[in-house]
């Protein structure tokens, strides 16, 4: 299991409260290295700058929504390997399927619990380790 404090997260959500909550939860789990972005466009710019290992993103955001961000990440050869976890209020089955097909590694529906976030993160890391083993 890689050192959690070494993993750099990008938390993307247009509500500052939600960004703060997610960052606090990540900190509780040992992931102390996290940056924020308030929409997909700013997030993509930061990601292209490099240094990020994990993206946690909302869907419904101005300028570039979560699905578009996910698609842009998967389309960029330098970024397509990045794990992307969606945390969103969008609860239509259509949404869930679209996210999965676009390459999201996980989908958490709001409101969510700390336990759920923990579980999904662990699952994603497990899969990533399995893939690189």
């Amino acid at each position: 299991m890689p050192d959690p404090s070494k993993i750099k997260f990008l938390v993307v959500d247009d509500f500052s409260t939600m960004r703060r909550i997610v960052r606090n939860l990540l900190k509780e789990l040992g992931y102390v290295n996290a940056d924020e972005a308030e929409d997909g466009a700013i997030a993509l710019q930061k990601l292209k700058g490099g240094g990020y290992d994990f993206v946690v993103s909302d869907w419904n955001m101005p300028n570039m929504d979560g699905l578009q961000l996910l698609q842009a990440v998967r389309a960029d050869p330098a970024l397509k390997h990045l794990p992307v976890l969606m945390i969103t209020a969008e609860a239509k089955k259509e949404n869930i399927i679209a996210a999965a097909q676009a390459g999201a590694h996980g989908y958490i529906v709001k409101p969510f619990t700390a336990a759920t976030l923990n579980e999904k993160l662990a699952k994603i890391f497990e899969k990533l380790e399995g893939a690189s083993a």
Binding site: W59, A89, A91, K92, K93, I96, I97, I108, K110
Partner: protein, 273 residues
């Protein structure tokens, strides 16, 4: 923001009045068309149909007529549209709808303000609560760590691994820890109270939300009344809602949404993700 609608004594907007007057001035002998609500099979007003037919006839004739007659034909169409609009406007006024629409339009800035207020209150409350958490968590973490360290040292006492000197030091440290605990518990309690107090927004936002809901309902009723008069049933189609719908407020009767993380996981699993 649009400029406020001016109503003169007859109840008409002054801009509309000017428009009608300018059209009426060019009307000449043309007679006003009666406003018929009867819809034919395509859903069009019979007068509209007549108008379209005459325009179509005009354009056919126009291919064989000199320019002067063309211009006259165009004028006639314009006059007829002006008259129909005038009649529609009068009907709306008689039924009282134009006032309603005006009032509805005026309530929207008010509703916007109220909703902004709600957003502001809830953000402040969230901030207050999160700040309190940021203060309280380190206190609790400190208590946890200190007690664990002391506990480990006490274990050594019970397994006879501690020297007398160390035991004296442990006793002193434990004593000072016990003196610290009440004060730290009190500090944490204070933050918990702050979190509780931060929930007071709910009362205020609840009242404002109720007002906005009432406003929206009134506006909806007024607009619906107008729409129902003007539009036949089958025209009101369901617009597709896309992928940006926000949280599901009421899942009752819906089979296209999920209502728990468990359902999300099941759906993904069933698709092989």
């Amino acid at each position: 923001m649009a400029k406020p609608i001016n109503f003169d004594e007859s109840g008409d907007s002054q801009d509309l009045q000017a428009l009608f007057d300018s059209i009426a001035a060019g009307a000449g002998a043309a007679s006003p068309l009666p406003v018929a609500a009867a819809a034919d099979s395509s859903g069009d007003n019979a007068d509209l149909q007549a108008l379209f037919d005459s325009v179509a006839a005009d354009s056919v004739a126009a291919q064989q007529t000199p320019a002067a007659e063309l211009a006259a034909g165009g004028d006639e169409v314009f006059r007829r549209i002006g008259h129909m609009t005038r009649e529609l406007h009068n009907t709306l006024r008689e039924l009282g709808f134009d006032k309603m629409l005006g009032d509805a339009a005026k309530t929207i800035p008010d509703a916007r303000e109220r909703l902004s207020y709600i957003a502001q209150m809830t953000e402040q409350a969230a901030s207050r609560a999160l700040n309190a958490v940021d203060i309280a968590q380190p206190i609790q973490d400190g208590l946890k760590n200190d007690s664990q360290l002391l506990g480990a040292r006490w274990e050594k006492v019970f397994t006879n691994q501690l020297s007398v000197e160390d035991f004296k030091a442990l006793a002193a440290d434990t004593r000072s820890f016990l003196n610290r605990v009440p004060q730290q518990a009190q500090a944490t309690n204070a933050q918990l109270t702050e979190i509780m107090m931060a929930q007071d927004f709910q009362d205020l936002t609840g009242q404002v939300i109720k007002k906005v809901v009432d406003m929206a309902q009134t506006m909806e009723q007024q607009l619906l009344k107008l729409l129902v008069e003007a539009m036949p049933e089958d025209v009101r189609a369901e617009a597709p809602s896309g992928l940006l719908n926000g949280p599901v407020i009421n899942a009752l009767g819906r089979s296209d949404v999920v209502t728990s993380q468990g359902q999300v996981d099941d759906l993904l699993e069933s698709l092989g993700f």
